[in-house]
């Protein structure tokens, strides 16, 4: 197992809007390791993008990291990301050089009035002011070539609108990989793309992981994507990691009712019409009007009166597999 590069410990993030406080992240912990892919999976509003943006310190002004820590364990020792100034010199140096992010929609993430090459050069030169324009462009061409863009010498001078969706995402990844970061955070990188293009992007990400040892944090809502790419999985619900474990732990021996229900509610390709779908009843609660006790309790088939008392403690099931549920033994053993 690779060494830890980013360690998130008991992270709390609150948003303050309209005199109300939304506890978006309620104490989440995980490690991102070299050459491994950690998938964060959950439905919309569960806090997965906030997690990614908290690591990059890209959260909106109205938010605050209320507790816990985010540490970057680089070659120069530990850097506490959560204590750095949001847009200070140190944070700006880390961003891009050591940790890079790609977003869901490459059209809005790229600037339409500058060529792709200009935007990659900007990144290269910001982190290495001595780099001349010519040399930077040569590096950009090489990066585009590495990401599998045909005719990179020509493409480097083109603008985002001249690229197709999949190519734009490759351009984004090229930009993210420009300074050879140790960690790549991918926030739903293929949600806006077609499946055949998605498969191309995944292959690219796999090769970054195996060939360069890049640590990847992949955020997704698609269990299929998790099954394809993940080494470790964190399942999030209403701001908590309700289950964490290796891919085998979570997909074959889920210990949290939410994970189990999620896996049973999606149709799986190749199982035909006979498969039984069990939708999760109700809908995700309003974050300002949270249920008492365990957040999943109103939708849970296993819930008992004790579940309404408090959020359950995190328990270790086996190895690295941990779960936030009082009834995890029952969930794992009842064979449903």
């Amino acid at each position: 197992m690779g060494e830890t590069i980013i360690r998130v410990k008991d992270l709390h993030v609150h948003f303050y809007t309209n005199q109300r406080c939304n506890r978006v992240l309620n104490g989440i912990s995980f490690d991102i390791r070299k050459g491994r892919t950690l998938c964060v999976v959950g439905e919309s509003g569960c806090g997965k993008s906030v997690t990614a943006n908290a690591i990059m310190r890209l959260l909106p002004e109205l938010s605050r990291i209320e507790g816990g820590s985010i540490s970057y364990l680089g070659p120069e020792g530990e850097v506490r990301i959560d204590t750095l100034e949001r847009n200070g010199r140190q944070m700006r140096k880390l961003r891009g050089e050591d940790i890079a992010i790609i977003f869901q929609d490459p059209m809005t993430a790229l600037n339409p009035v500058y060529s792709i090459g200009f935007q990659i050069n900007e990144m290269l030169q910001a982190h290495d002011p001595s780099l001349r324009k010519k040399a930077a462009t040569a590096r950009s061409v090489q990066l585009l070539r590495d990401m599998g863009i045909p005719l990179p010498e020509q493409r480097v001078h083109e603008y985002p609108h001249q690229f197709s969706g999949g190519m734009r995402q490759r351009g984004m990844i090229a930009m993210a990989m420009a300074c050879a970061p140790k960690v790549l955070i991918a926030d739903e990188p293929t949600t806006a793309l077609d499946v055949s293009i998605q498969a191309q992007i995944f292959e690219l990400m796999e090769s970054l992981k195996t060939e360069r040892g890049t640590a990847i944090l992949l955020i997704t809502h698609d269990m299929g994507v998790v099954a394809e790419l993940a080494d470790e999985v964190a399942v999030m619900y209403m701001g908590s990691i309700v289950e964490y474990g290796t891919i085998e732990d979570v997909l074959t021996r889920p210990a949290h009712p939410y994970t189990k229900a999620l896996l049973k509610s999606i149709p799986i390709l190749g199982r035909g019409k006979k498969q039984q779908l069990d939708p999760i009843r109700g809908s995700t609660p309003d974050s300002f009007d949270r249920p008492k006790g365990c957040q999943f309790q109103p939708r849970c088939d296993y819930a008992g009166p004790e579940c309404q008392l408090s959020m359950p403690e995190e328990t270790l099931v086996s190895g690295v597999h941990r779960v936030m549920c009082r009834k995890h033994r029952e969930v794992q053993s009842d064979g449903r």
């Binding site: 919309s44 499946v195 509610s265 995700t284």
Partner: protein, 332 residues
């Protein structure tokens, strides 16, 4: 189904082109061939899935069917109770009446409901149009509809912003059902929903189909969803149907190289099936200037000389008692 299959809708050579205009004089400079010659029969009481990647023309085909965009050429014969008529030749008035039997559920539950209308306001429009004169009657009908899509009668006085995405989509379905249609086009009806909600809506659609004897044309890019819900599946690529057969057959023995590649590209939430990927190279070409011959040939791993020059026909064969239509030169 067997022998008693009744053709509800027969499409022949349907083409929908969007003209491109350029220059100072707005001269026509070509066409976007969104739908480029589609032959399709829809049987009464079936769910037919229409799948393909973005830009393959599946939504345009759905909209052409309801005449929301005017098809350029072809025929669409629909078997009404009063007899068979070509949807494309209907007058405005006739078309209005035809829409009583043909309805559509849109992808985005946020933009398909008017935010200034209450749910009652949105849902009563079609009823008013089709002659339910008394408000009390409309209220009763809408109340029943809301109950049938697992909402509550009291919800009709609320505004769309008070509902979640899944609830709005169910309201959209209720609206489509309000005029007792026979055929509903579901255009990416579950794509915008969270996975836990998706299953609820899928089961609702199946329940309604059983109860009201509906026919669905289910348009989606999600093959797992379409496998779960459809009886037959048509795979589209750049405006043409490349493969059409029964669902089980498509997943067990797809013949067209595009279908095979599509099936292989889909991530499956099943660890035992984690596989080596061999993704398709390149992008979907532009429908303005599609490649000659077989549209798929530049990306096809099995491309041969004939594929570059000749357009393959969609040929229906009966293999092991199952009708299987595929348009590929290499399928014997």
């Amino acid at each position: 189904m067997g022998a008693e299959k009744e053709v509800l809708l027969r499409m022949r050579g349907v083409k929908t082109y969007f003209p491109l205009r350029s220059g100072v004089f707005n001269r026509s400079s070509g066409n976007v061939k969104a739908v480029d010659g589609v032959d399709l029969d829809v049987y009464r009481g079936e769910i037919i899935g229409l799948v393909g990647e973005s830009g393959c023309g599946k939504t345009t085909l759905g909209k052409s069917l309801l005449q929301l965009v005017k098809p350029t050429a072809g025929t669409m014969e629909y078997t009404f109770k009063e007899g068979t008529q070509d949807l494309m030749k209907l007058s405005r008035k006739e078309l209005d009446l035809a829409r009583k039997t043909l309805q559509i559920v849109f992808q985005d539950p946020y933009s398909s409901l008017n935010p200034a209308f209450t749910i009652f306001g949105s849902l009563e429009e079609p009823l008013k149009r089709f002659g339910v004169r008394k408000r009390a009657d409309r209220e009763r009908i809408i109340g029943d509809l809301l109950v049938s899509v697992n909402l509550q009668r009291e919800h009709m006085t609320r505004y769309p912003n008070e509902f979640s995405g899944g609830q709005r989509q169910r309201i959209g379905i209720a609206r489509a059902l309000s005029v007792n249609p026979e055929l509903i086009v579901c255009d990416e009806a579950v794509s915008a929903l969270d996975v836990s909600i998706q299953a609820q809506v899928l089961q609702l659609l199946l329940k309604l189909k059983r109860e009201m004897n509906l026919t669905y044309i289910f348009i989606t890019h999600n093959l797992s969803v379409v496998e779960y819900i459809s009886d037959r599946i048509a795979v589209m690529y750049l405006g043409r149907i490349v493969e059409l057969t029964e669902t089980d057959r498509l997943f067990a023995g797809a013949l067209h190289p595009y279908t095979k590649a599509l099936l292989a590209a889909i991530p499956v939430a099943d660890l035992s099936r984690r596989k080596k990927r061999s993704p398709l190279q390149g992008d979907v070409p532009s429908p303005v200037n599609p490649p000659g011959g077989c549209h798929f040939h530049p990306r096809c791993p099995e491309c041969q000389g004939v594929c570059r020059t000749e357009v393959p026909k969609l040929i229906t064969r009966t293999i092991d008692g199952v009708e299987h239509a595929v348009s590929c030169h290499l399928v014997e």
